[in-house]
Symmetry: C2
Subunit: 341 residues, 2 copies
Amino acid sequence: MKSNITMKDIANKLGVSSVTVSKALNDKEGVSDNLKLKIKKVAGEMGYRFNSAAKSIKDGLSYNIGVMIPQRFTGLNDSFYLRVYQEIAVQLDHYGYFGILNILSSDEEEELSFPRVYSENKVDGIIILGQISKKYIETVQNMDLPKLFLDFYDEHAMIDSIVTDNFYGAYELTNYLIQNGHRDIAYVGNVHSTSSIQDRFLGYYKSLLEHGLKFEERLLLNDRDERGYYIDIELPDRMPTAFVCNCDQVAYNLCERLRGAGYRIPDDCSVVGFDNDIYATLNSPQLTTVEVDIEQMARTAVKSIMDKVSNPNRRNGRVLVHGKIIYRQSVRNISDSPVVL
Amino acid sequence: MKSNITMKDIANKLGVSSVTVSKALNDKEGVSDNLKLKIKKVAGEMGYRFNSAAKSIKDGLSYNIGVMIPQRFTGLNDSFYLRVYQEIAVQLDHYGYFGILNILSSDEEEELSFPRVYSENKVDGIIILGQISKKYIETVQNMDLPKLFLDFYDEHAMIDSIVTDNFYGAYELTNYLIQNGHRDIAYVGNVHSTSSIQDRFLGYYKSLLEHGLKFEERLLLNDRDERGYYIDIELPDRMPTAFVCNCDQVAYNLCERLRGAGYRIPDDCSVVGFDNDIYATLNSPQLTTVEVDIEQMARTAVKSIMDKVSNPNRRNGRVLVHGKIIYRQSVRNISDSPVVL
DNA sequence: CTGAAAGCGCTTACAG
DNA sequence: CTGAAAGCGCTTACAG
């Protein structure tokens, strides 16, 4: 496999030393402009390619960042996490870094084994995307490497995280429903499943509290089992006028269920989602929802991890990235008098 | 950044040489089982992590494979290519390799510049996913590195490729429509846009030929402009009884259009798609389509590129991966007498 | 402005 | 079974 041009080859051709070639190619001081130019020219002609492994071994830096995604999040139709990863790769490029995808298999997650990107020193930091098990969080904590949780967090782990502002997103959505005259509002989601679902629930709850509305158990509808698989949503006996769903796909599923039971949307029930993914626009009517700002999340995550690479003691805590409400047709104003804005 | 344990550290602790440590940790001959065990134990205790950069520099191998995806394919709602990439990453893991994602920006594609993964020697091979421009194909050909096209090909470029068997997929789908009594069948897709669309068209065409049906220009409906953006599909004056669409999303768009024009599916028109992506199941009725076997494609691609890494002269030509027809409710049998299977 | 020497962490070939 | 020596391609002091 050894047919590559090295700095030494360029040096020989020009009758200089490889030190001089290194300086020239890296635009360092100590080489006359004339020689610098000549070296670059010859390097180009000879098809020289930089050997980053040699630099890595010197610097102790791989110039790669690992992006870990648990396998169960990647089989979904809507590949939110893969799109985030893609945006991370684009952002890393600005820093001269690359992204290595590390799909965490269920086996690895259970066996609590370190990922190969870590045990083989392939990355200078790792971004973990999507909820991982409590036990595996401990494993992650034991990794001697900058790390960052993206799109979820764990309050016990002292690991920095970047999350969408789920709390305020759901809070504002619920406020909006209340502005539209709704008083009997359900929340759809398993609050024990992920921190996102829980935070969105709490945002919804805060809105109820602030408006003096009472939360009752019947208003909390489950959407998935403990392993995260969707279940049929059970409609309550006394129907609410509006539903805050923890994500668009669940909102979509709920709408199907409601239509099946003879309800029209938004005439009989209003429904809001979260994420602004494909399910929001495919639903009919299209869903009012909150858009996650993927680019901003990726940008923030990459900046934060690069920070930590240069300064391992840097702590950024939990950073919230604001989502944006997208108003569409799935909410009906049911107040007696029109709402004054 | 230099706080890592090296083989030398382990060697010192045990009073042996680093050569012996290397042999022990790599399970090579020439170390007593006893010592081997002791070395491994101490390595574990000290939290030793292998430095792959050092190995890379020796072997001239990065143990990474680049996966290049043109930017314009990643913004889509349905991230087919990202799912393929993910499956590639999983397959690479079996070989001890990692995948580095390389989003090819439109600028790079126009400037014909080498990707950084290449100029920095970050990868031992590169898999290119999704059609790239003719010009950029030349650039790719000039890269001195094993390379592979995935999900498209170029007949002028002597570059191996792995593609879904688009031709036979569309051929079989069209046969199926004919079996169901259809004689007036349109094809929807811009045949100059991608090789996939073209090959699917040719499979459709072959089926017509074999059944003595005449192809007419009016049966070819355009779905996108030369830059690949979807356009409104113009329905022909004299309506066919069935439509072969180049992909599910286009089939979905067509169905919307047909419904808008007052046609019912499959009562008035039958429609088939290709890909079995989310649009196939979201459409109502769900679409009869061809499922691309992503896992098999990724497996074949990874095997092929690994082949080339160990043997750069290896040529595998164009490998076709069979899709599978998924029969659903978007086709109506319009033959006078029931079809006997 | 230019280069000889040393070293990053590992492995290979060879000697004992 | 064990290890001293050399080398992979580059960069960082340091000397001239």
